[in-house]
Point group: C2
DNA sequence: CTAGTTGCAAAGAGTTTGCATGGCG
DNA sequence: CGCCATGCAAACTCTTTGCAACTAG
């Protein structure tokens, strides 16, 4: 097995991720590093994220926007155990840890023989804020 | 509202999608068109897929691999009312109409104030066939 | 010293856009 | 005829790769 060196770049990136509460793209990280005056090459960021992911330190998720992969720091894979709700209006990502979802997984496993990959799944819809907002101005139009 | 013309390109692309049982990427379509000797430009394929999707004729899904967006034909709107389970192994799309899901929607609405858009949501995981298949050859490795 | 790591720049893959032309209704 | 759709090529974004220089252990 490959040994991991503890380099400055690696720890900077990891710190950044630890201090971020939501998911970030590689580009976000690049931008942040840039605004912090830290210079780490694009390639290194991608390679590091990749490594951190395969070490299980980060979770990689694809939120079907045009944004590319998102990464998020998770203490021992925590995020792989809950679902994500993504508001299609405002883009907010809600982490949903709730026993009901566990039930749902079980149900789908038993009744439909399907093993859900919660980490990969993003449930789309509208968050509270955006639902309220919509009701105000959509008097009578079907759907976009 | 924009009117949709029925062009040759549009119907060719739609036919292709109708006759495909799993998801395809824009590139797949381009390749297929090419091997059929039909020439439709890249831009048109992308624009058409986009339009078909917003008309609700296609379902767009992102299978977080490096592959880009995937599209799949679904009979007009029929599918906006139930969830979809997508096997990340074999590509099978399972249409899941089940009261449990309705319960789940309600739960998420009440407890989390989030309105799920079932038509937009794809739940990823592994279907029965592929789960069985995996167990055969993964004697003892943690997870990918 | 050795093997993993970094930077740079170039290359790829997927997708989008501007603009002139073509085609449906 | 008017307006949407198409083609082409250039532009873009995200990500990967080759390779020489570098550094942690």
């Amino acid at each position: 097995m490959k040994q991991e060196y503890s380099t400055k770049q690696r720890s900077v990136i990891l710190e950044l991720l630890k201090s971020t509460s939501t998911h970030v793209t590689a580009t976000d990280i690049l931008r942040q590093l840039d605004s912090l005056g830290i210079k780490i090459s694009t390639a290194t960021v991608y390679r590091t994220l990749d490594k951190l992911e395969s070490e299980g330190i980060l979770k990689k998720m694809t939120l079907g926007d045009g944004l590319g992969a998102c990464y998020q720091y998770t203490k021992n894979g925590e995020c792989s155990q809950h679902f994500h709700l993504k508001c299609v209006e405002c883009g907010e990502l809600i982490h949903l840890s709730c026993e009901f979802l566990a039930e749902m997984e079980e149900h789908i496993l038993k009744e439909h023989s399907f093993v859900i990959s919660a980490g990969r799944t993003v449930i789309y819809g509208k968050c509270a804020k955006c639902t309220g907002r919509e009701e105000k101005d959509s008097i009578c139009h079907s759907h976009n």
